[in-house]
Symmetry: C2
Subunit: 318 residues, 2 copies
DNA sequence: CCTCCGCATGAATATTTATTCACGCTTGAT
DNA sequence: ATCAAGCGTGAATAAATATTCATGCGGAGG
């Protein structure tokens, strides 16, 4: 009987606080109890399920998918971009916009940004960044060499340079091909002062933006001809590769696939990547599902930006 | 496009705050925005309807009825007691319990409590009060004379005395019949030192507990024989009386019915009652609907305690 | 091209809310 | 009956949240 009365009191307090918008001290005056008691009653109201807060996802946002992925993979942040269709153009564009927003919103003075060149989503990000005056990034570091052929080299360079310009930082280029013919030539390249200077900066990166590559042939033709041979790719696949970040291949569990190929890549290693405080992975599209899942399982990235279709697939993985 | 992104942000913040229970400063750290911005986003989340708080009434509580009555009559507080059946016994008991709780919860040191004797609900209240040690009321004042016959006088006296005892106050009795034969005899009675002492204390009352009487014959037989004649009651009815508080009759609009009868009552006037900071009216039952409505319309009481059936009827009045 | 206005931001601060603390009541065991 | 443990309370205080203020950006209109 007293229980009912107590519930009534709790309900009344909750009503005054949440619906009428009164402050606790007002309520305490009206009901003649102390403010401390009002606070306690409100806490009980939540505990007893008398007040319930529900969050309605506005159209175009996918908080449920985001939390599903966060929880499933134990990752700290997931951004699911809205996207009309499930094709690469639409997906990459949506992800790029979201990535641009994330960069704009979270860039801080003195940040050192790393970017893996050669990602369609990062390209899209570039196109959607609003020039930022507010803060001044220290520098933008290219995390992966350019592609073998000189014209392609330019692309990678441009991505880094443009980004640096947009966020008021110095570009720090990695003037090298991304894949060398042998571990020896890689070692020699890395001893070049310009290359070494950049590699030495890797440990200073505060935020890295990286694309996630899939094993299946990509539109960018990254691997074909310019980088790895078909045979090499087949070997990687045989060893369990599901995708790559900065051309560092990893398995379904996100374990790096060490070996000769690993030693021929000029760019940040996955170990170095782990040491970066915030790694933002951007990727989407049907081909990428397994690649993304691997990166998530291996905790290779801290933040995932993807599209709603890919997010759906990720959340449904067994 | 940016709108979607903003909504996503708002939703995410709302989620972290309301569902995950993070504090704003934590959120601001994770999302890398200032705590002020988090606060602002949360406010927007409510404004945009992204977070909704709903209050679920626990069974046995009737917040909707309460607010309906509060709003309809512009009264500051309504307590609707749970009650299984719509008969006087059940109703009076439920109201008594609720009144007792209210008294216990809101009694403050030094309060001067007024009680109109001869109310079945107040009798019930007495039986349900837990002795209070915490605070010490200054005194309990009897607001209405006892009924004519001596044995009944005792009842009124006892109610006041028992209450005073329960809340550690001094009883201040009104040693007089509640209705005299004529205005003159009333004036003489009131000049009696004991009676006058009590009447003089009326203005010091901080909280008054009053029953609300109905016109139709009551179980207590208050009016018949002991107080007013059938003819007098009929006259009152003809003049529009719908009920009484402390035997002060009033109309459907809560206007006091002045006149000879009014001058023959020994007890607090409705004018004096208006001056009391907090007047708590207790009443319920089918016969009382119109009486309560009148008291509410005339703002004769500040707090109404009733049962859910009566509350329903009150809320449905045109 | 420049200037002014409105808007958004974060730091500082004011306000509000939650927690701690000390105390008194109740309860249940001895 | 007496005492200790546990609960609930309000006052004081700590913590969290909202608001103010000053500043800088972006766009409209000279």
């Amino acid at each position: 009987m007293s229980r009912t009365n107590e519930l009534r009191m709790i309900t009344r307090v909750a009503q005054m606080y949440h619906l009428e918008g009164l402050k606790q001290s007002d309520i305490s005056e009206v009901l003649r109890i102390s403010q401390a008691s009002v606070s306690r009653l409100l806490k009980r109201a939540e505990a007893e399920g008398i007040v319930r807060v529900s969050i309605v996802a506005p159209s175009g946002t996918y908080p449920d998918l985001e939390s599903a992925i966060r929880e499933k993979f134990g990752i700290s942040e997931v951004i699911v971009a809205d996207c009309r269709e499930d094709n690469d153009d639409a997906v990459f564009s949506a992800i790029g916009v979201a990535a641009a927003h994330l960069l704009e919103q979270t860039l801080e003075d003195g940040d050192v940004i790393g970017v893996s060149s050669w990602s369609a989503t990062l390209q899209q990000m570039l196109d959607n960044i609003h020039p930022i005056k507010r803060v001044r990034a220290e520098r933008v570091i290219q995390l992966l060499g350019g592609i073998g052929v000189p014209s392609a080299q330019i692309h990678a360079t441009q991505l880094t340079t443009r980004l640096a310009h947009l966020i008021n930082g110095e570009p720090q280029l990695l003037p090298a091909p991304c894949v060398t013919g042998s571990p020896e030539s890689k070692r020699i390249l890395v001893s070049d002062p310009h290359v070494k200077a950049t590699v030495d900066q890797f440990k200073r990166v505060t935020t890295a933006f990286v694309g996630i590559g899939a094993m299946a042939p990509s539109q960018n033709l990254i691997y074909s001809g310019n980088t790895f041979t078909q045979a090499e790719l087949e070997e990687l696949a045989r060893r369990g590769a599901v995708g790559d970040i900065c051309l560092r291949f990893y398995t379904a569990d996100g374990e790096p696939l060490a070996g000769e190929i690993y030693e021929r890549v000029v760019g940040m290693t996955l170990e170095e990547l782990q040491a970066v405080p915030r790694v933002i992975g951007t990727a989407g599209g049907k081909r990428k599902t397994a690649s993304i899942a691997g990166a998530l399982r291996g905790k290779l990235i801290d933040v995932l930006i993807t599209d709603r279709f890919t997010a759906e697939r990720l959340s449904e993985l067994t």
